[in-house]
């Protein structure tokens, strides 16, 4: 008996070890197991066989043929490309150059398969920005023997196509300095579609899976160089540092390339180039010398990207005609075409704007969606929901959304409810809605194969499922068991899907219900690498390999469209998605998937979210607390304190974890978590204004320090701290029982502690005591932050609450800030129904200016809200009174606390009850 017990304990111990290290590396392909990647990576610089010919202008574009050079007779095994390729170069306003390279299909329609071009990503407005190129000039650049063709991009920049060897780049007109280039190292390769030769085997096998690869090899690879760059960033999604480390080059033993292949990765690691749930093939470079540029390859097939360390090409014999400091990168994709966008910059925000100019601006979320979300797999039944909801009130903790994971359904049939656990879904939602709260239910893309399930019945009858290689409905395994997957590539099918969200079709849904799309990589438990086989077939004969990374995007799109339809086009959808692709920002929020309750994972959440923001996905967050595992209370508290600044702020947990709602860890911890959540609610006017900025410009809500301080080199590889807008710097605490925390405060101006108002000098690393009750956060001198200091059960009750303005004066005693308000839910803001104020403090006077263009629209938005308190930090004098115009009214000035429940401080001037309305023009002079 005893031996049996100890054996049991031993096994138990071993099994718990296995749980810790449970990332199943061997289930996923590495580059060496991926023939196109292995092959591309082994190519030598200068091996590209193409040269440009027949360069001309056609329909406002530069067009050319890429012709294969005569094969080198010494290299017998080299397969010369049979046909030339077609290149199209276009210029767009605002500093964007686009280069497309595809097969030069014969003019007559051939039975030939066409390569896939990803539809519905580029927004229609982008085409309207196209510059109609009139002429192309040629010149010999530098010491080139051959010629280059040059076109106009903007007044400062030109696009250049070098003919032989073939190369494309952007250069500054005046200096001739390069900005971005493609194929400068001659690594461009393009496997053209062809007939299968006798005896040739195109199949690929991985573990127990076979990919029939009916169209054979069709990969593309090329090198891209970023000039004047110190670092490159972007290409999510992975758990890794913000500044991308080189994956090849001197001193790097072996590293996988950065992989872009949407996968459901169980218990992912916190520092790995391995690709996770989403893919955005958009890279940004930044450097002190040049500023910022970006490169985006619109391609949905598996992609692998190497960042090449300095000196990687030392023995290649290729010398670039430029001595500029640069970062070289190498891009490989399994299929598709070259559809590449060169973003000129020159500032970080310019590049982001240029990128969203192509892929679309982030959607404007509803106010509730940027507040606090409470989620768990699973809130089990209606009683559970009611209890959790009640506990928030009992502890006076605000929250806006309660989430239901997969267990709420009837046997994982989405759009249904478990009749026993959730017999009265409408009543349940109404109860929440009575407190202004919302609910989110999960709707996944795998459909249970069950003849009695209406979605399955319709989908199989109408042929709406993705097909397997032999043309039958593809069947995979997911939560409900045997499942099929709706083919969202088809607009017709998306429209059918969208209709499923109407109140009539989604029985038990109410207007306060929104949606969560999970597993849309897609996750297929018994598929290769836990996803769909690459030879599965989508609408129009498109192979899954060609659109894999966009799969989740189309699903997200269809769901979001559904909510839009449901609300008659006037209710902003909220859909959270796990998989994403360029353009996903138009449809909702994303989160970083199934993270783990570990300090390192808290740490990596910051670069992950920053990277998403840089690549257009402003509305993102990580599961607060960590999805897997049980966080120690300290970690959970720290996570809340940091998560309060995530654009998307949601706590979530795996079903095997202990309950961890904020009140379960003793009074002190409850207080700390309540404080963290309230900090978010206090800053909601500021956040909402930033979401509007992102909506208009694409500039993300949370930003790397270098985005706000592009000339401060010390910030370029920082990813422990981040900016919220241009005004707030937040530094996470990522270690247990931290006594101290070091914070680098960039720029010349001072920073004010968000809680005490204490001033700190800029351009300096401060070693601070690590406080228990918050993570360090500072307001930048020269900014004004709007707040709401009253707490309610949810955002819904705050509509009439007054505002507080916090003015942090810089060394010249000035500051600026903005406030954007609308109804928080409808699309009426698109017709001008909003208030947008600009606050300027200058010469001892605060002025509120209207930012909304007079002609913006015909729908007014009214607010009676007043400003109850104006706080001034860093004021040089000792004013006693404030004079308000119009009305010549006086308000009292006193020293007050920066936070209502904090202590008064002599540095914190407070104008008491100015009583002015937020909507009006006014000035306040401090005397």
């Amino acid at each position: 008996m005893r031996t049996r017990l100890s054996l049991f304990l031993l096994l138990l111990f071993l099994s718990s070890c296995a749980v810790v290290l449970s990332w199943k590396k061997e289930e996923f392909r590495n580059c060496n197991q991926t023939p196109f990647c292995k092959r591309a990576r082994s190519r030598k610089p200068g091996s590209s066989p193409f040269l440009a010919a027949d360069v001309s202008i056609s329909d406002g574009d530069l067009v050319a043929k890429l012709v294969p050079r005569e094969p080198d007779p010494d290299q017998e095994d080299q397969e010369p490309p049979a046909r030339p390729l077609a290149l199209t170069l276009s210029a767009y306003r605002d500093g964007v150059m686009r280069v497309k390279i595809d097969e030069d299909y014969p003019s007559q329609e051939s039975p030939h398969k066409r390569r896939f071009q990803v539809p519905d990503v580029i927004v229609s407005e982008f085409e309207s920005k196209k510059l109609w190129l009139q002429r192309v000039s040629t010149e010999r650049v530098g010491g080139d023997e051959g010629v280059s063709s040059i076109v106009y991009l903007s007044d400062e920049y030109e696009g250049v196509v070098r003919h032989d060897p073939f190369e494309v780049y952007v250069r500054e007109r005046s200096s001739g300095d390069r900005v971005l280039s493609m194929n400068s190292h001659g690594l461009f390769d393009f496997e053209q579609l062809r007939e299968k030769k006798e005896g040739e085997d195109w199949e690929e096998r991985f573990r127990s899976h076979t990919d029939t690869r009916p169209y054979g090899p069709q990969s593309i690879s090329f090198d891209v160089s970023f000039y004047g760059a110190d670092f490159v960033y972007g290409i999510p999604e992975r758990a890794a540092s913000l500044a991308l480390k080189p994956t090849r080059g001197p001193g790097i033993d072996h590293s996988e390339p950065y992989r872009l292949f949407n996968l459901d990765v169980f218990e992912y690691l916190h520092d790995s180039p391995f690709g996770l749930y989403g893919a955005i093939p958009f890279m940004i470079s930044h450097g002190k010398a040049r500023g910022t540029s970006g490169f985006f390859w619109l391609n949905a097939a598996e992609m692998q990207i190497d960042v090449l360390g300095e000196g990687w090409d030392a023995d290649s014999g290729i010398s670039l005609p430029s001595s500029q400091k640069r970062v070289d990168t190498f891009w490989m994709s399994e299929a598709g075409i070259v559809d590449a966008f060169f973003f000129i910059g020159p500032g970080p925000k310019d590049v982001v704007k240029q990128y969203v100019g192509v892929t679309g601006n982030p959607a404007m979320p509803q106010l509730f969606a940027i507040a606090y979300h409470q989620c768990r797999w699973n809130y089990r039944d209606e009683e559970d929901v009611e209890n959790v909801d009640a506990k928030f009130d009992e502890h006076d903790i605000p929250y806006d959304v309660l989430w239901l994971d997969i267990e709420h359904t009837d046997g994982k049939r989405y759009f249904t409810w478990d009749k026993v656990l959730f017999p009265h879904p409408e009543e349940m939602q109404r109860k929440l809605a009575a407190k202004g709260r919302h609910m989110v239910t999960i709707v996944d893309p795998h459909i249970k194969r069950d003849e009695s399930y209406h979605i399955h019945k319709e989908a199989s009858k109408n042929g709406y499922y993705v097909k397997d290689a032999s043309g039958n409905d593809f069947e995979g395994w997911c939560w409900p068991g045997s499942s099929s997957y709706i083919d969202m590539l088809s607009p017709e099918i998306r429209s059918w899907w969208a209709d499923k969200f109407s109140f009539e079709n989604y029985v038990g849904s109410t207007p306060s219900l929104y949606i969560w799309n999970d597993m849309n990589e897609p996750s297929v438990f018994n598929g290769p690498e836990l996803t769909m086989p690459r030879d599965a077939l989508h609408y129009g004969g498109v192979e899954h390999r060609e659109l894999h990374n966009a799969n989740g995007y189309y699903f997200h799109m269809a769901t979001s469209d559904g909510l839009l339809k449901r609300g008659n086009g006037n209710d902003r959808p909220f859909v959270l998605s796990r998989a994403f692709f360029p353009g996903s920002q138009r449809y909702g929020a994303v989160w970083t998937g199934d993270n783990t309750a570990e300090w390192d994972q808290l740490r990596v959440s910051v670069p992950m979210i920053l990277t998403l923001g840089l690549t257009g996905l402003s509305f993102s967050g990580a599961d607060v607390g960590g999805f897997f595992g049980n966080p120690e209370p300290e970690l959970l508290v720290r996570w809340y304190q940091l998560g309060a600044y995530y654009p998307f702020f949601r706590a979530h947990a795996h079903q095997d974890t202990k309950r961890r709602e904020p009140w379960l860890f003793g009074e002190r911890n409850t207080e700390l978590m309540r404080d963290a959540i309230r900090t978010r609610y206090m800053l909601l006017p500021f956040f909402y204004t930033l979401f509007r900025e992102a909506n208009v410009t694409g500039v993300p809500v949370v930003r790397p320090l270098w985005m706000e301080f592009p000339f401060d080199e010390a910030t370029f590889d920082k990813d422990e701290a981040f900016m919220v807008g241009n005004s707030l710097l937040v530094q996470g605490i990522f270690t247990e029982r931290a006594k101290h925390v070091s914070v680098y405060l960039p720029g010349k101006e001072s920073w004010y502690d968000l809680r005490t108002g204490t001033a700190y000098l800029g351009s300096k690393t401060h070693k601070l005591e690590a406080p228990e009750d918050h993570v360090p956060a500072f307001q930048r001198a020269g900014t004004i932050i709007p707040r709401r200091d009253r707490f309610r059960r949810s955002t819904t009750q705050t509509v009439n609450d007054p505002y507080t303005l916090v003015i942090a004066l810089n060394s010249s005693q000035t500051a600026e800030g903005e406030l954007y308000i609308d109804d928080g839910k409808s699309f009426e803001f698109k017709h001008g129904a909003y208030i947008h104020r600009r606050f300027v403090f200058k010469g001892g006077k605060l002025t509120s200016l209207n930012m909304a263009p007079a002609t913006s629209g015909n729908l007014p938005f009214k607010s009676e809200c007043i400003i109850e308190r104006i706080i001034i930090l860093g004021h040089a004098g000792g004013p006693k009174n404030a004079l308000i115009e119009p009305g010549n009214l006086k308000a009292q000035v006193e020293f007050g606390p920066l936070l209502l429940q904090g202590r008064s401080s002599s540095g914190v001037l407070t104008i008491r009850k100015p009583g002015i309305r937020i909507a009006d023009d006014w000035t306040i002079k401090v005397l």
Binding site: R4, F8, L11, L12, S15, A18, V19, K24, R207, S208, F266, E383, D384, D396, G411, D418, K419, V420, L421, A434, G436, G476, W477, C478, W479, G481, S482, F525, N526, L530, Q655, D656, T657, K658, R659, R678, D789, R790, F791, R792, R793, Q797, N800, D801, E864, I866, E868, R869, I884, G887, L889, A891, L900, Q901, G902, R903, S904, K913, G915, R917
Partner: protein, 639 residues
């Protein structure tokens, strides 16, 4: 400024309107003292400069409820939402007064039944205190009634417990005395037995010697034939006499056995159970039975509770558990991704899903088999397994469906109102644990003279048996052995009872020993396919058919005897050890209701019991009712 003033006036106006519309007798303040509890009014009215209660600041009377937060603790804004730390007092005439978080003031939601928290005119809250109060008072009255009855029951319980405890103590003392005496007797018998055995041994040796001598004498024998025949005659005579004596002896012991033991079936069983154990033990140790017996008994007695009375039941449980644990071990201890290539698509899907869900898949269950079997066998195997699993899947889903069917949802757990409505939870009943049946059935309740009888018997034996008689009297020896065996069995029984009793008395039965009666009892609650069994001081289980999952071993009381904790139950796959918290509340019967699993493998249950119906709480409730009734406006005021 103007706007604010206008708002304030509006607010006051709407207050007036409200108070007019409300009850005339209740004095909803139309002054700046809104939101202040009556007992606090003095604090605010005593001077023109008021201190923040936390001592951090002072504020002028004019700053009281001026909708601007001056005190960090909210002292200056009891009636507005301006300070997050403030509390708003609603009088709720006709019902109970309530202190609200300031976040509820003028938030558009009616929180106070008198509507006083919403005075900005944005919503119109009707006064529902009268109705709500009536419901609450009725509820409270019911609760008080339950408590009253419960208090009586509790008193009885406590009385009984006290008596029973005294009895237990007495019994223990008595048993200890008996043990002492019996030990002495057993020792004596043992010595005697050993002496007899020694004598027998000597006799044997003597016999051998004699035999030897006999052989030597054989030569002489023929010579003395005649003399030998005479000797034989003499021996025969002696043998007849001996047989007579033996008969008498047997009758005697039989009689004594009946008289002194008054064996009950269970005792018999215990002895029966003993026998094989003893034999095993003896078989193992090749030492003579007589020498070892005492020690063996001792050993067995110590383990008796565990190893004897429950042996069969427990063993089967353990076997079941071990099997399932072994399954889990294969499931979790193994790298799940191993051999995935050998799996069918469906198996692979299930296997991967199980990483997230922790559910078992047939791959895990059949792991060993799959590895061992090959080719066709393997395919067949997995096919079967699949079918099985499909069934399991379906039935699982069904179970989920039924799980809450019998749940009385309206009857939610209100910790403040923990009594009523739970009288007739038919699904719950109590049962005596098997263990207790054993216990109650003791020999010690029978005539106390048994010990004396034993003493007498032993004395008589000791006197009767002549040690120095040669050859050793066979019947006497048997009698000693028998007496020894019986006495030592008796002793071990007493020792077992003593250890049981003293174990019992070590437990915490509550301040007034009100939980004494829980000892040895189990409370059951049936919820769909599960039977939950809560055995205080022992363990809690969840039974489904023949399989039993231990939710926890008895740990302790918690939260001032309002919670029972069972911990270290069976381990969950990929999760914690199971545990159960049983919240206790006043009720007239001991019954378990509402077993729930709010967090995976952390169960909670509710147990109503008179033990929780304390007098103090009753007084508190009565006081509360009194207050409510005092607050209640006279009926004509309501109109």
């Amino acid at each position: 400024m103007k706007a604010a003033k206008a708002r304030a006036v509006l607010a006051l106006l709407s207050l007036c309107v409200l108070s007019i519309a409300g009850s005339a007798s209740s004095s909803i303040p139309t002054d700046p003292f809104v939101g202040i509890a009556p007992e606090d009014l003095k604090y605010y009215k005593s001077s023109d400069v008021i201190k923040c209660k936390d001592g951090s600041k002072k504020f002028a009377r004019a700053q009281l409820n001026d909708d601007f937060c001056d005190c960090p603790d909210g002292t200056d804004e009891p009636g507005t939402s301006a300070c997050p730390g403030a509390k708003f007092y609603c009088r709720n005439a006709g019902h109970s007064p309530v202190l609200l978080y300031s976040s509820r003031v003028n938030d558009g939601i009616c929180d106070c039944c008198d509507g006083s928290d919403e005075y900005d005119g944005k919503v119109n809250c009707s006064n529902t205190c009268w109705e709500a109060g009536k419901v609450a008072r009725d509820k409270l009255r019911n609760k008080i009634a339950t408590y009253k009855e419960g208090v009586t029951l509790r008193k009885q319980e406590v009385e009984q417990a006290k008596l029973a405890l005294v009895k237990d103590e007495e019994e223990l003392t008595k048993l200890k005395n008996e043990e002492k005496v019996l030990k002495g007797l057993v020792q004596q018998l043992k010595e005697r037995k050993e002496q007899i055995e020694k004598a027998e041994e000597q006799e044997r040796l003597q016999k051998e010697k004699e035999e030897k001598e006999k052989k030597e004498a054989e030569e002489k024998a023929e010579k003395e034939k005649i003399k030998t025949e005479e000797d034989a005659k003499q021996e025969k005579k002696e043998g007849e006499i001996k047989a007579e004596i033996e008969d008498i002896g047997v009758a005697n012991t039989d009689h004594e056995k009946i008289g002194l033991v008054e064996d009950t079936p269970s005792d018999q069983n215990v002895e029966d159970d003993f026998e094989p154990l003893k034999e095993i033990e003896n078989g193992d140790n090749a030492v003579s039975r007589g020498q070892q017996a005492n020690g063996v008994n001792q050993h067995v007695v110590e383990d008796k509770d565990e190893s004897v009375s429950q042996v069969s039941q427990k063993e089967s449980e353990i076997a079941v558990e071990d099997v399932s644990r072994a399954d889990q071990m294969t499931a979790s201890g193994k790298d799940l991704s191993e051999d995935t290539e050998a799996l069918s698509k469906e198996e692979l899907g299930r296997l991967v899903a199980s990483r997230w869900t922790g559910e078992k898949t047939e791959k895990e269950d059949k792991d060993g088999i799959i590895e061992d079997s090959e080719g066709e066998d393997h395919e067949e195997m997995s096919k079967d397994a699949h079918v099985e699993d499909e069934d399991e899947y379906a039935s699982d889903a069904d179970d989920d469906d039924q799980r809450y069917e019998e749940d009385d949802i309206e009857d939610d757990v209100d910790e403040d109102v923990p009594v009523e409505d739970h009288y007739d939870t038919s699904s719950s009943h109590e049962s005596q644990s098997d263990d207790e049946l054993d216990l109650s059935d003791t020999t010690t309740q029978t005539s106390p003279s048994w010990l004396e009888k034993i003493q007498q018997t032993v004395r008589s034996i000791l006197q009767a048996v002549n040690l120095f008689q040669t050859p050793v009297d066979k019947s006497e020896a048997a009698r000693v052995r028998k007496e020894y065996d019986e006495s030592s069995a008796k002793l071990s029984k007493i020792e077992s009872r003593i250890s049981k009793l003293s174990d019992k008395l070590k437990y915490d039965f509550g301040k007034d020993k009100e939980f004494y009666s829980f000892y040895g009892r189990c409370f059951e609650s049936k919820q769909n396919k599960y039977v939950y069994k809560v055995c205080p001081y022992k363990q809690a289980t969840q039974e489904e058919g023949h399989s039993t999952t231990r939710l926890g071993q008895w740990d302790k009381f918690d939260d001032a005897y309002r919670v029972m904790i069972f911990s270290n139950g069976d381990r969950c796959w990929n999760g914690p050890d199971r545990s159960l918290k049983v919240r206790l509340r006043c009720g007239l019967k001991n019954e378990v209701a509402e077993v729930d699993e709010p967090s995976r493998c952390e169960y909670v249950a509710l147990l109503s019991t008179p033990a929780l119906c304390s007098e103090d709480k009753l007084k508190e409730l009565e006081h509360k009712l009194e207050l409510m009734e005092n607050e209640q406006p006279r009926p004509h005021d309501e109109l």
